[in-house]
């Protein structure tokens, strides 16, 4: 029995280490492919950055009505949330739908590469892209609008990004399984998040919706993520814990659905 246990443990450890190594190398492969398609990379960055500049120079100037909160402290983190959604939900969902449609997933499955390593690699690459977008938004926010994150809000920003990528990444994975073709994935993604993003006040901090709708929006992950990130810029009045729970719940739901419905072909 002890002999078996001794043999078993290193084997498990080796498998885990190999899976991790393969996941990291997959991240590099995916990143190389992402940056190589310049057009794709450019527009993934262009949308959030253009919106940042557009909103920053028009709607959200000075103090928000009836508060002592400066507009940029709200809309810059909101755009960060938007960047997370574009990279993790829209792009990842569309990418996986394309890979499935092209038969690449089917081909990957014929190799001994563990599914966990492949999917973590793709998710890791999404995280890297998200990080790059976030860094650009933060930098522009500081330089152009003087929106500097709180030092004490670092936990909210980092935590929000990690959880945001996991949550919207898992929803992207789920979306790719729902889409019947590679072509329909993007429209489905856009149609599903954009209205929610608008109602969540991502593009206009002063946007207000009827009370009943606000309750629904509050249960969706977009505003939850935005508010957690806003907390990283300025202390705002709401219950950050409930946002955390909402995000966690959607992450769990997204993962469960993705695992249930994930198909290789």
């Amino acid at each position: 029995m002890t002999v078996m246990a001794a043999n078993w443990q290193p084997l498990e450890w080796r498998t885990l280490r190999r899976t991790l190594r393969l996941a990291v190398s997959q991240v590099l492969i995916e990143q190389r492919s992402f940056w190589r398609s310049a057009e794709y990379a450019l527009f993934t960055f262009a949308l959030p950055l253009a919106l940042l500049l557009l909103i920053g120079s028009t709607t959200a100037k000075g103090y928000l009505p009836g508060t002592h909160v400066e507009g940029q402290m709200i809309f810059v983190p909101s755009i960060i949330a938007f960047g997370v959604i574009v990279a993790a939900y829209v792009n990842l969902g569309a990418k996986l739908a394309t890979l499935r449609h092209d038969g690449v997933l089917k081909r990957i499955r014929t190799t001994p590469l563990p599914a966990a390593a492949y999917l973590s690699g793709i998710l890791g690459s999404t995280a890297a892209t998200t990080l790059a977008i976030t860094a650009s938004i933060v930098a522009i926010g500081v330089v152009a609008f003087g929106a500097v994150p709180r030092v004490s809000g670092l936990a909210e920003i980092v935590g929000g990004l990690v959880l945001g990528v996991l949550c919207f990444g898992s929803l992207g994975l789920a979306l790719s399984s729902v889409a019947r073709s590679a072509e329909s994935a993007s429209p489905i993604a856009n149609a599903s998040y954009l209205p929610v993003a608008i109602m969540s006040g991502i593009f206009d901090p002063t946007f207000s919706v009827p009370g009943w709708l606000s309750v629904i929006v509050g249960l969706l992950p977009v505003r939850a993520l935005a508010q957690i990130l806003q907390q990283g810029y300025t202390p705002v009045e709401h219950a950050p814990l409930s946002d955390l729970y909402v995000l966690l719940a959607w992450t769990v739901a997204g993962c469960a659905f993705a695992v249930w419905r994930f198909r290789w072909h």
Partner: protein, 303 residues
């Protein structure tokens, strides 16, 4: 030395039985063809062996492993070429092969892989710019990336022009020369005749016959056909055929179908001598071909 052992293999999807207990074995270093019409159960059989499907009964051993229990370990040592599988859109040839090599513990060197599939000159080409034939060769390179002992080819030449088919066949013969074992599914008879060391015909979830191509043709009990130009007098009706033989005449050709060639030939030549027909013109003996055997088995002999 058995690479694949299948015994009493059964597979059902719900109430529908797809494999009704099949048996065959593939030896190391041979090209084994699994032949059968669409829907015969070829793909299901192969998917079970590759570890993608759980069988509902019987035994399947691949390289001495149970593919259902250890799919990852089996896949470490097999290569699979599926039909119509795409490539990542941004990839380049050598890069993609390297990506695949990283998935295996003991990959085959990149240069060797490029050489085997004749893509050395295209190593930096974008995959989407490759021709159809080049893509199929890249398919093969990716399947060989892990230096597998056993290679599964699923209808490798479906939709090929004759030139591409010949190249593909040469590549498969190359694999055999390298000592690889190949399991190939197909519905082309000429492919089987050209490549197979041994074969099995699968129909309605059962193995109808198995063995070497020659053996299979014989086992199907297709008669040997002896043909000759029908003599003038026979056509004019002034000559009767030997009663003991099954001979039909059409379009000036007489064809005798028989199960024992020597006996029939002796009878026939004796009859020719009796009637002063000399040596029968264009006398030829056609052994049953695989096509004859296949049609006999699959369609019940209608031809």
């Amino acid at each position: 030395m058995i690479a694949i052992e299948v015994s009493g293999l059964e597979m059902s999807y719900g109430d529908r039985q797809v494999l009704a207990g099949i048996d065959f074995e593939v030896r190391y270093g041979e090209v084994f063809c699994l032949l059968g019409p669409n829907g015969a159960g070829k793909t299901t059989t192969v998917e079970i062996l590759e570890g993608f499907r759980q069988r509902t009964g019987g035994i399947a051993r691949v390289l001495d492993m149970d593919p259902a229990a250890q799919p990852a370990r089996v896949r470490e040592r097999i290569g699979i070429v599926l039909q119509e599988c795409g490539f990542p859109r941004q990839a380049r040839v050598a890069e993609l092969i390297d990506m695949w090599r990283s998935y295996y513990i003991n990959p085959r060197p990149l240069e060797e892989l490029l050489a085997v599939v004749e893509l050395t000159a295209d190593r930096n080409a974008q995959v989407r710019r490759l021709s159809g034939g080049q893509r199929r060769r890249l398919d093969l390179a990716l399947a060989l990336a892990g230096d597998p002992d056993l290679i599964f080819l699923d209808e490798p030449t479906t939709g090929f022009d004759p030139e591409s088919r010949r190249r593909c066949w040469a590549a498969i013969e190359n694999l055999r020369a390298l000592g690889k074992t190949v399991l190939l599914t197909t519905h082309y008879l000429d492919e089987v005749e050209r490549l197979a060391d041994r074969m099995a015909i699968l129909q309605d979830g059962r193995i109808q016959v198995a063995g070497t191509v020659r053996n299979v043709a014989r086992q199907a009990c297709v008669p040997t056909r002896i043909s000759f130009t029908a003599p003038e007098r026979l056509r004019a009706g002034s000559l009767t055929l030997p009663a003991c033989l099954d001979i039909s005449v059409s379009g000036g050709i007489a064809v005798c179908s028989t199960a024992s060639t020597a006996v029939a030939l002796r009878e026939l030549l004796a009859w020719a001598a009796e009637n002063d027909l000399g040596d029968l013109d264009d006398l030829s003996v056609a052994n049953p071909t695989l096509e004859d055997a296949y049609l006999q088995l699959v369609t019940g002999g209608t031809r």
